[in-house]
Symmetry: C2
Subunit: 471 residues, 2 copies
């Protein structure tokens, strides 16, 4: 936890933004999430909004802030002797409230009475327990208090959601330092993984080896590791394949630090240590897109425009390779880039690897005057906003050859004649390439997070892998 002044200041800033609102704001922390039965849970992880405003990293806490009087109350129960035998001596609720700068405490089950007769402002819940808890407190259905897709949650408090997003979108210096540290761990984890790419080795073996760094030095991985020779499958969590010579290995993985800040990097490696010419051509394009995007990041620029500029550069290069043909501007407008990069250029990152996605993707990632596109690719862009200093975003272009998608486009004529399917067929077994860095928007530009950048230029990647093999 930070010193209590940090949490007090954050809650004051929140209250300031909610000036004039009636009612009471409700915050429900997480409980343990059972993996199988109630006493065998997944690794404990507190709710990020809770951590941001209260910092207490223990299960079964809730809090209210009276928006009219500013009165704050923490709801939780002290441990009894049975708990102490199993869990060890624990700080009292009173002392935890003190460390968070909250004046009042009450039993956990007193939340209901505190809400009675008041207008209640709550944030959308993502965990099923929180859905049950909030729904039962407010007499709603559990599925009414969670975000429905990208648009957020209709029953949640729009002013509270907006206020939280406004605060968390701009990272404090102390948060940036922790994200830098998470990135350093992420680089160490990726380096371990790269050294493990040896033909014949089972992918899962590399994953276990690399994740030991996340567990030894941090909370764990910031999301389920993607390590696959089928890079064309974005969220491929199957790790059964042996490393095959001549393929491309996409590794998209991050560390969550003990302080619960994330990193998220992607690199793509030739499993044989050297790219084929075909691989190098595509890799070079993705690399240029990554560099181009970074060069454009500065306050005032809409990240949507950076996405589009990146796609334009990609299509231009793919035209030179003979995979598409036509006016680049027209192809960008018609969404042809979505065939090759059906995802967005990046997302916010902070305590959550997709920061605040529980609050509603569109609310987090889009300015009030921006409308989300329905196009494949651009429609998946999670961060479109005009950038401001303190934003932390990912820069992750990619090119993929997805046989099912290509076949569908060909069948349905979605490309409007822009795609050279004959040429494209030779890429059906190519897989995919993605290259991702984490970037801070600074006062006058951008800085890549973490002390050291993972090798990314094609020659540097080959040199690093050559060096690895000597170890």
């Amino acid at each position: 936890m930070f010193e209590k002044e940090v949490y007090i200041a954050r809650r004051m800033a929140l209250l300031e933004r909610l000036k004039g609102e009636e009612g009471i704001a409700l915050f429900v922390g997480n409980v343990d999430a059972p993996a199988q039965y109630k006493d065998n849970c997944y690794k404990w992880r507190q709710d990020s909004n809770w951590l941001y405003f209260f910092g207490i990293d223990e299960p079964r806490f809730a809090a209210t802030i009276d928006l009219e009087t500013g009165e704050e109350t923490l709801y939780a129960d002290d441990f009894d002797i049975d708990d102490i035998i199993w869990m060890g001596p624990m700080p009292t609720v009173r002392s935890l409230a003190e460390s968070s700068g909250v004046a009042n405490t009450a039993p956990y089950d007193a939340i209901g009475a505190a809400l009675k007769g008041r207008k209640v402002h709550f944030l959308p819940a993502s965990r099923y327990y929180n859905m049950i808890k909030i729904a039962s407190l407010l007499g709603l259905d559990p599925f009414e208090v969670t975000s429905a897709g990208k648009i957020g949650c209709a029953k949640a408090s729009a002013p509270l959601v907006r206020a939280v997003i406004a605060l968390r979108l701009v990272k404090e210096e102390r948060e940036i330092a922790l994200i830098d540290a998470a990135c350093d761990l992420g680089v160490a984890m990726h380096t371990r993984a790269r050294r493990g790419i040896v033909p014949g080795r089972i992918e899962q073996d590399i994953v276990g080896d690399m994740e030991s760094i996340a567990l030894a030095k941090g909370w764990g991985v910031s999301f389920p590791t993607i390590l696959t020779q089928h890079g064309e499958i974005f969220h491929c969590h199957s790790h059964e394949m042996a490393v095959e010579p001549g393929r491309l290995m996409v590794i998209d993985a991050g560390v969550e630090s003990n302080e619960h800040y994330a990193s998220d990097f992607t690199r793509t490696y030739p499993t044989s240590g050297r790219f084929t010419q075909m691989q190098r051509d595509i890799y070079q394009t993705v690399y240029e897109c990554n560099e181009l995007a970074f060069s454009m990041i500065r306050p005032g620029v809409a990240y949507r425009d950076v996405h589009l500029a990146t796609v334009a550069h990609m299509l231009d290069n793919l035209q030179q390779l003979g995979l598409v043909k036509g006016s680049v501007d027209a192809m960008v407008a018609d969404g042809i880039g979505g065939l090759f990069m059906p995802h967005g250029l990046g997302h916010n990152m902070g305590m959550d690897v997709h920061d605040m996605e529980d609050l509603g993707e569109n609310l987090v990632g889009y300015d009030a005057d921006q409308i989300r596109s329905p196009q494949l690719g651009l429609g998946s862009l999670r961060m479109a906003r005009r950038l401001v200093p303190g934003n932390v975003i990912t820069d992750e272009p990619g090119i993929y050859f997805i046989p099912d998608l290509i076949s569908q486009w060909k069948r349905e004529g979605t490309d409007m004649g822009c795609v050279n399917y004959t040429k494209l067929e030779s890429y059906f077994d190519f897989g995919g390439i993605r290259l991702e860095d984490d970037v801070l928007v600074t006062a006058d530009g951008a800085r890549r997070l973490g002390a050291q950048r993972l090798p990314i230029a094609p020659d540097d990647v080959e040199a690093a892998m050559k060096q690895d093999r000597k170890l």
Copy 2:
């Protein structure tokens, strides 16, 4: 997955046990469990009862078995092109039904209609999503469809629960082979951990290193790793301490295999590589208790009696050390052992590390004519039943010195004059010792699971640690 005949046979056996029951049995598989927001989930883990009867290791499946006609239906939805882009090509619901030997398929949301007007038999849910789902299907409150403490769930189907327990308590040969394999991985993980015990090293660093084996070769750990120099705290998941010379390190950890079978071992190591005399005396007692329990395990013996015999031996030794005084039989009857071992001797193990604990501890671990004791220690015994061949249980005696508990007993006179508190005070900084093996009940006795037993005799432990330091 096993071949489909395995699942067909298990469901036939279930139906046979439910002959004469009216209505329809409902099985709800798991969905992904969000760690933060909906798209960032903990590692996927299917429900164990679902795996046992249907084997399909994918989220968002449900099934019904009509107890009157035997008709079986699987409820799930096929993937669309968006899913395929993100998750890769997936087998159809129809082909998964085939692999599980289920004749009918229907959309996931058709479950409700299938239950209409029928008596519905369901198993208690532990995960919050399953609680919401079952409750909404049956018009109940989510907390009505989960086990309330040790007694199970009043609204769940008693005949179905009993039938599932009867089947899963007796492991099949194919299950025993998988548990043996999970134990082999557990031994490898523990060996890695033991080698990592070096004064000055942060505990978390050892945990990350050892867990890499669970991740590289199995699904992961079978429960959150306990690795602590405060062994007197049973479920101590804090790993912040540096290894201090002269202490005892309790490591209680297991692996869940890729096939979802668990292992669960505990060893206690002197952090300096050699026991002090005080440590060795207590260690020797726990070791003897572990061996005594194993020697008693055979069909027909109630594990409750093995627990009590172990406690008697423990108190006898503690008497020789001057920590307690009085008739051993009387002390056992009065529950004095609970001060030193406030937990039970063991539990069932299988797909869950505490096997089937979601169904209700008392129903799983107690014969119909056994009543669970309210005493500290014996009251925490999870497995009391008369043993039968095919049971897989843990043998895990321990001795702990818990300052808060000792103070409470002294204050309240709970020991009835049996405890030498003056002597006991010199143990306040001792910590605790636990030694745990996994045991199969065979036709005429018992077999420890796993090809190789972790060193356990005090001299063997010291020899192994001496050898480790040469590596």
